[in-house]
Amino acid sequence: MSEVIHADHHDDHAHGPAKGMLRWLYTTNHKDIGTLYLWFSFAMFLIGGAMALVIRTELFQPGLQFIEPEFFNQMTTNHGLIMVFGAIMPAFVGLANWLIPMQVGAPDMALPRMNNLSFWILPFAFSMMISTLFMEGGGPNFGWTFYAPLSTTYAPDSVTYFIFAVHLMGASSIMGSINIIATILNMRAPGMTLMKMPMFVWTWLITAYLLIAVMPVLAGAVTMMLFDIHFNTSFFNAAGGGDPVMFQHIFWFFGHPEVYIMILPAFGIVSHIIPTFARKQLFGYTSMVYAVASIAFLSFIVWAHHMFTVGMPLAGQLFFMYSTMLIAVPTGVKVFNWIATMWRGSMTFETPMLFAIAFVVLFTIGGLSGIMLAITPADYQYHDTYFVVAHFHYVLVPGALFSIIAAVYFWIPKWTGKMYDESLGKLHFWLSFVGVNVTFFPQHFSGLAGMPRRIPDYALQFADFNMISSVGAFIFGFSQVFFLYVLIKTIRSGAPAKARSWEGAKGLEWTLPSPAPYHSFTYPPEVKSEEVHG
């Protein structure tokens, strides 16, 4: 550890990156590592998206047309794992790397070498996981929640690769989180008190604590699986006195905070973009901070709402139902604050703002279907149907993903010094917006009508909804390839961007020139009141 800390004491004050490709391997610069994270997550996003399209192709019509059911299961499992651990989470870590040092007025992250390590673990973890698809017996096929005994007694032989891949991802996340907390708590510019921090920094501080708390739980769960598979223990095996239901408890004790890990930074991003384009101060900054903290706390006591049907006593069902519904209160506070921020603002609708507004609307739809699912007696009907699929895709795609895309459009002028093409950005937005709704809205209906999730074939009555869904999926999928084109075009030939790229933008990062210099804030900046969010 001491080695890592001393990395800050190096004496060469080089003003630019090293030359050659190895620069990316050795870099300890927060901007380089942020860029690596973002491109990595984009690559994973396209791979996971391709898997989603395989799924939607098979589901275009009832019957088995293109792939075997065994392969279908591998596609749903890997799509989920790659999107959660490979796309959404690394994208947020990438944004944290780029933005947090600039937003708190620090020269770099607190632990630059550990930062390098936590990124470079990821390509190995995911190569390991994806390689199992080409092995005899296939890759993980037990759903992204890998319930035992599907993932132990009945798992393909390659499950051990999956277990170690999850260990590596966990190690990477824990190191990344320690780094983020250490940076935020110790490296803020003088005068930036906790309650003056930008919302993105606040949300990431809380997210990082969640990660530190639950990643060891995930590691514990997969370690117990490993022991059950190879060392004859019976943690999850009823024949040996274990209990498969305990797996679900442990998994969701990790899993529920995990879903907030994927949404809290999104709340932060939207809390930057909406005030900028409404040209108003964020409404209710303090309540926003407390809302995020309460959501984080509640996330630890609601896990069993994922497993209402395992046979819980009434008291347990009621407790988890009420505690889950309680989350709607702080979330509602946030949504009302965003709307109040827009109220009577002089709004303009550039691409980041469009994505942010779509986030507020569509995330709220996902939140409301979440409340429906929280009603225990009703959940018995919705459980394991496409209604659940529609719910979590509404909070993750137009929720988490839209916020990431919004962040990229919002900060790309700062990162590259180039402005994206506004009309291409708007086209990308409308294609994505239409695509995402056409894909996922009909799934509410097929779910309510009883279509189970994770199946390659279905009853005829669901044919129309599935066909619409598949068409939407292809629109959405290809509009993300278009996003790649917009990004490359921006980097290559975008118009030069101003230091303060948006008229209403506030915060220390906008006081730096665009593109931001390789080393920002060698000396702590002065925190002026007009740059403060709170």
Binding site: I5, D8, A182, V214, V217, G220, V245, M246, P313
Partner: protein, 200 residues
């Protein structure tokens, strides 16, 4: 102390604290397993019934004012091909009285196997009031090919059973644990008599 080295010290302190949280959470997840068992035992959730119970017939008298129906269900886990069923599907008993029922089991395969029965009880609120003084589920059964067995189970429904519980369902799932436990040396299967191994 310069500003910079003070900052480095602060960072080091933060990292140490955070590393402690990580280590603490690792211990927490390890502790979850015994805690979960303890929780289920205390509350009776999950329908887990307790271990052997010491019953002194002289000290309690049966509650003859009510009868409780106890239903017995049996099933074999996937890959377990033994015959397994209760001799009586249900009995009516007075709380506080000792009762004996028996279960029939037969190894229908051509090789020696070891079985373990796992009980589960519904409603879970009755689990702590269902006592067993003798049960085949407290031990494992090793049966030779074609061997059959009558297995007794002696139980008492506690007088404290909530009044609203009028019937209790006790189910046993029979698992093949031959591979897990291992057969005694003299019964090891030789190559020329290998039959397909069931289960994972």
């Amino acid at each position: 102390m310069t500003v910079e080295s003070k900052q480095q010290n602060d960072i080091r302190r933060t990292v140490k604290k955070l590393a402690l949280i990580v280590v603490g959470m690792c211990f927490f997840v390890a502790a979850l397993v015994p805690l979960y068992d303890l929780f289920c035992e205390v509350t009776g959730l999950n329908g887990k019934t307790g271990g052997p119970y010491v019953f002194d017939e002289a000290k309690t008298s049966p509650d003859t004012t009510r009868l409780v129906k106890v239903n017995f269900l049996t099933n074999t886990n996937e890959g377990m091909s033994w015959d397994f069923w209760p001799q009586k599907g249900a009995v009516r008993v007075h709380p506080g009285s000792a009762n004996t029922v028996s279960f029939y089991v037969k190894n229908t395969t051509g090789r020696p196997m070891i079985a373990q029965a796992i009980p589960s009880l519904v409603p879970s609120s009755a689990a702590e009031f269902f006592h067993k003084t003798e049960c085949f589920c407290f031990e494992q059964q090793l049966l030779q090919p074609g061997e059959e067995l009558e297995m007794p189970m002696r139980f008492i429904v506690d007088r404290g059973l909530p009044k609203n519980v009028q019937s209790i369902n006790l189910s046993y799932a029979l698992f093949d644990v031959t591979e897990r436990v291992g057969l005694p040396e003299d019964m090891q299967i030789t190559d020329n008599q290998v039959s397909p191994v069931t289960g994972g």
